[in-house]
């Protein structure tokens, strides 16, 4: 009896971003079906797991590192993943998430949660994770192996990167 090859463990993470990169990932359409034949998706926004799992082979990380929770998760990703991919412009450069960087955090929170006319008010500050002084690209928080740019990266580009990795070829975008 031939042995079934071991499936790779894939995780996707949503840090400080808009989830557009994940939407683009879902736009892989039929390729998603082929993908799940080769990988187990062990963690992600749609996977009901709270804790980042161990022994992940490939991890796609969307979003900048903008608060302490992101930073903690990023470190956990690094220590449990073989290959970390900066997935999309926010992870690669900070992008839109980092546009707040020129404004001091205190002024930012005051403007958004105290002064703005919004359904969410100052009470939410008690539960929100503390913002870092600056939103950072992922590689300034942890070591990153591959950079997958785009806002969001086109499904074709995601497919090119993933299929190259699954076939053990170098990723050339």
């Amino acid at each position: 009896m031939s042995q079934v090859p071991k499936k790779l463990r894939l995780a996707t993470v949503w840090l400080g971003g808009c989830s557009g990169c994940h939407m683009s990932f879902l736009d892989l359409d039929e390729l998603l079906i082929e993908l799940v034949e080769k990988v187990d998706i062990v963690y992600g926004p749609l996977v009901d797991t709270k804790k980042f799992p161990e022994e992940v082979d490939i991890c796609l990380v969307e979003g900048a590192v903008t608060n302490v929770e992101n930073l903690e998760l990023a470190r956990s990703i690094r220590s449990n993943s073989k290959l970390v991919i900066s997935f999309g412009d926010c992870a690669v450069t900070g992008n839109v998430t980092s546009m707040r960087n020129r404004i001091p955090v205190k002024d930012l929170l005051t403007a958004v949660y105290h002064e703005a006319q919004a359904p969410i008010g100052a009470e939410s500050l008690e539960v929100l994770p503390a913002l870092l002084k600056k939103a950072l690209p992922l590689h300034q928080a942890i070591k990153v192996d591959i950079y997958l740019p785009g806002c969001p990266p086109a499904p074709e580009r995601i497919a090119a990167a993933l299929t190259a990795l699954l076939d053990n070829r170098p990723v050339d975008l």
Binding site: T93, N95, Q140, Y147
Partner: protein, 238 residues
């Protein structure tokens, strides 16, 4: 004009005396990346992307402002030069706020294209995130200093081709900024002829036509060669 012989990338080539290394390379279809350089404008040597190695020189030299010399030995690409070029691009991206995803020139930007071509896939330096303004006081055009890399093509085209010299530079070093007239809002400029040459030659989204949304600003600098050929050589073509 006397012809001289030099070696570029281990090939013996001829060039005219007075030509720059960049011009000689382009005549022989040797590709050197450039950013501040634009055919038709004076050479500036500002962006440093065209750095090449010249035997006998202890440091790399910009190909656009270094004249060819008899028996010169030039190397246009090696591991060190490529590394320096990527580093220069990274520093350029880190210095201002080049947020491609929300830029009018996304996908039509010379800086972005060069980064892709030279394999610069991330910036290792801390982003400075400066707090820079936008001037949209002009009726037709706007300037976004966040995207400006101080190539000064706008300054040169306005002075050398249009003859208006509306654009200039204020400040020094990292505080430098392009200005219109004596640092008045563009819309209040008395010297600006509204010709739009500066917008067309700008390599990024720093100068743009008002009303352009993300990725809509497409520029075309080829008009420059056409009008200069008409002016200098009396050659008129479409």
């Amino acid at each position: 004009m006397p012809v001289i012989t030099l070696t570029i990338d281990e090939e013996l080539v001829s060039a005219r005396a007075g030509q720059s290394i960049l011009e000689a390379c382009r005549d022989h279809e040797i590709k050197i990346p450039t950013l501040c350089h634009l055919d038709g404008l004076s050479a500036r040597g500002g962006c440093r992307l065209c750095l090449v190695a010249v035997a006998g020189s202890p440091r790399l030299l910009p190909a656009c402002t270094t004249a060819v010399q008899e028996n010169m030995v030039v190397t246009t690409s090696n591991e060190k030069i490529e590394r320096y070029r990527r580093m220069i691009l990274e520093l350029t991206f880190a210095e201002r706020n080049h947020t491609c995803a929300v830029c009018v020139s996304n996908e039509n930007c010379e800086l972005q294209t060069l980064a892709a071509e030279l394999g610069m896939d991330h910036v290792r330096y801390d982003y400075l995130n400066p707090d820079l303004p936008l001037d949209t006081s002009h009726e037709r055009y706007g300037v976004d200093h966040n995207r400006c890399l101080l190539c000064l093509r706008c300054v040169r085209v306005c002075d050398e081709v249009e003859g208006a010299h509306t654009w200039d530079v204020k400040g020094r070093g990292i505080k430098s900024q392009v200005i219109t007239d004596l640092n008045r809002p563009w819309g209040a400029s008395e010297s600006c002829t509204e010709c739009g040459k500066c917008v067309e030659v700008c390599p990024t989204g720093a100068l743009f036509t008002k009303g352009s949304a993300v990725a809509e600003m497409k520029k075309e600098a080829s008009f420059l060669r056409r009008i200069l050929d008409g002016r200098e050589k009396r050659q008129w073509r479409r």
